[in-house]
Subunit: 243 residues, 2 copies
């Protein structure tokens, strides 16, 4: 096997870095205990791909994830008995996506990976959201890249190729890190390396996710510490020849 | 005087955060001791505004600073007896802008400011350059914003207003921090707060710069630690009322 020496590690965020389901369910239990927080988190996230599809298809002009989250929120609130939530509470609740908690391995794993690689977000979340989240979770990013920079949502190739362009490297010098095989498949189609991260509880403890390996991925890791170990073992220091 | 409570501190980089003159002169002395490194650094930087003006005017399409630096470099090399420098050395030398050293107060000052504010670059330098520079100098940015994100060079209003838009705040909640009065004047025209930083040696010890205060700036600080002190004393914690 050739040595794996990505210069850039580009991270999917929702589900891969942070536990959106657990964080939203916990906040709902605290603020609106009468609501099923688990179902609420799932319903909110379910609107995510269809909302982005409205942008991808051109039905909506460029719209940030903050605004898409708000559109979805307004639509689901009545279903959960919160149809008369006042504007200030809607605004505050919508920002829960800015304060999602990282999975337990993330801060240590990123800190290890940062020693030998440039670590950047590559999320459909907007820059402000990702920056607030990094401050909240003490995520030590070298750079905050977002679909907002490229004005296109993953899996649009512009997003994956855009990272290589920003850092002036070949696509094969970038590794996409994600807990979602679709994201990795689209990155692979653009020539990026890929690392799958197991996040079996992404949708909550009641709905464990199939985290079986897919042979096409460059690496398959339990979590970020496992990824750091695999890259540390297999990778030559940056700048070394890759023969 | 009303309390000053910027949520976002947006930093100019070349000259304000890093010592471009000293870093380039030092690298030239090391690699090409026959060249006057001081004059070389000044000549390279002199081409900077005219090169960006070619983009602003539309003569050139969108061009990253890395590529503008290279255009200028190729033009000045013959003047310094380096007209036959091979391609690989030109490429390596051009990346000196990625490894400029911060002024001595910067890392401590930024770390203090980061506790109460979002600290972001707001530079005409491209994202890859700023990211490499942050890694080189251990600059603890919360976010890396660049003209590249807005596809416009300062002092274009899009750049200053773009920061407020990215973070979903009013322009008056953003403070531009720079060692250049023109940059601050343009930010002020967009409604941003401004902090001037004295960098008397920006152009080298032989050419001390006039760092006199300009009354229109919100704050005038010797360096980043002084700025942290002034904001710490005057500013209420973020989220408090600003009455």
């Amino acid at each position: 096997m050739p040595q794996i020496t990505p210069k850039i590690l580009a991270f999917d965020v929702f589900g891969t870095v942070v536990d959106w389901h657990g964080s939203i369910a916990a906040e709902m239990r605290l603020l609106y205990p009468q609501v099923d927080g688990d179902a609420f988190a799932l319903a909110w996230r379910e609107g995510y791909q269809p909302a982005m599809q409205r942008v991808r298809s051109g039905e909506l002009g460029w719209t940030k994830i903050d605004d898409l989250h708000r559109l979805i929120l307004d639509r689901i609130l009545p279903r959960f008995g919160l149809g008369d939530l006042p504007e200030n509470e809607r605004r505050a609740l919508n920002r829960v996506w800015h304060r999602l908690n990282p999975w337990p391995d993330v801060v240590e794993g990123l800190s290890r990976l940062k020693r030998r690689h440039i670590i950047t977000t590559l999320s459909n979340g907007n820059i402000g959201l990702l920056t607030d989240m990094a401050k909240h979770g003490e995520l030590p990013w070298d750079c905050v890249l977002s679909a907002e920079v490229f004005r296109a949502y993953k899996p649009d190739p512009q997003v994956y190729l855009g990272v290589a362009e920003v850092f002036d490297v070949a696509p094969a010098e970038v590794m996409m890190v994600a807990a979602h095989h679709e994201d990795l498949a689209a990155a692979r189609d653009c020539g990026l390396l890929t690392a799958y991260i197991e996040r079996p509880l992404e949708f909550g403890a009641a709905r464990p996710k199939d985290v079986s390996p897919v042979a096409e991925n460059t690496l398959h890791a339990r979590d970020f510490n496992d990824l750091a170990g695999q890259l540390g073992t297999n990778a030559a220091p940056i700048g070394d020849s890759d023969d």
